[in-house]
Amino acid sequence: MHTFAYARPATLAEAVALLEAHGPAARLLAGGTDLVIRLRDGTARPAVVIDVKQIAELRPAIHEDGGRLVISAGTVMTDVASDERVRRSFPALAEAAAVVGSVQIRNRATLAGNVCNASPAADTAPSLLVYDAAVVAEGPDGTRRIPVDDFFVRSGVTTLARGEIVTAIELPLPARKMGAVHMRRTRRRGHDLASVTLCCGVDEVEVTRLAYGSVGPRPVLMIDESGVLADPAATDEAKAPIFERMFADASPSPRSMRASPEYRLAMLRVLGARALRTAIDRLAQG
């Protein structure tokens, strides 16, 4: 591993100042489950590594604030997956967090880190999109709330500005009842990177939100307000055109070795239909 300068700011202001000063030469270190691999294989060669884990404002915490559940940037997947409020209000996020890597990985990897890497295959991204989550960023110009859907650009690229640091992920507590589920395809049952990752949520006013990843440069959110998908009595023929519109933006890379585009697109449809059924069932079960 090449050497670098290591900084361990204690306050958010310090971290922002460091980020502003070093720009792209700096990398933030949260859980390290992605960054340390890149430091070792040389695909990341930052001059400065800024460890954010001592920043008071980022310390692991999940709390409610003004109708939102706020998950601090230092919160790891294990705690997201096991948190009672997450499981109750955002079960698909808990499901997604619970399948990110192994126990060892989930004990280090943060939800914010998963979002900031902006991997198209990020397992938590679809559920965050379905739940209308926002990224809270602190920067030289103050605090911004960026809807997750406006945050992802492509793998490794987000709409964060220079000097901005993500402090939390916020999820609006649902005003309406919703049934939701996270599903994925992998090459084995043990932990693996997803070749399709998908979340479907159906709410009590028959709006269906479907988000998916690993089939294009960034995760995608699609919304059906026609009520057709949410209707348990709707026929497959009625649903098909809606699904097709929803999946029209999927464009899996032919370069991937994990699955062919053909298979991914087929599985997107299989998972979409299965997830919809489960979401409807869960809504019905309350």
Binding site: A5, A15, I37, R40, D51, S102, V103, R108, H191
Partner: protein, 161 residues
Amino acid sequence: MSEMIQTVLIELTVNGRRRALDVAVNHTLLDVLRDDLELTGTKECCLVGECGACTVSLDGRIVDSCLVLAVEADRAQVTTVEGLAVDGHVSPLQQAFLDKGAVQCGFCIPGQLVAAHALLAENPHPTVPEIQEGLAGNLCRCGCYQQITEAVLATAEEAAR
């Protein structure tokens, strides 16, 4: 303070013993355990957090020590396989690994044991799927998974008596 530094004096407690040492910022906890502290029970294999051979407990939670910079372990409590025996006697889980035939070549076993200890600490009565899920981050190429699961189950049952 946040000055730029390339070696850092860290203090950590490893298997109950306090250690203070200078570590390079680009060295991992695994490097420091094996090379500086000469605790070679923790093994090095994939270096990408996939195999679990380097599993240690960090402040009560298992991690892949190949993905933790040593400096991140400053002020932490670390338990490695060398810290599992009690008063010079192997733990019931270590003994169960031997009794149930969970050990072939043994190279993955330190990681398996640290992970299994943590699993039982958190969930004293795990089911087979819970054990399999909990230990999925520890690869065993000899294929002792069944016997490892049996050893964890047997230890849990014995503790419940």
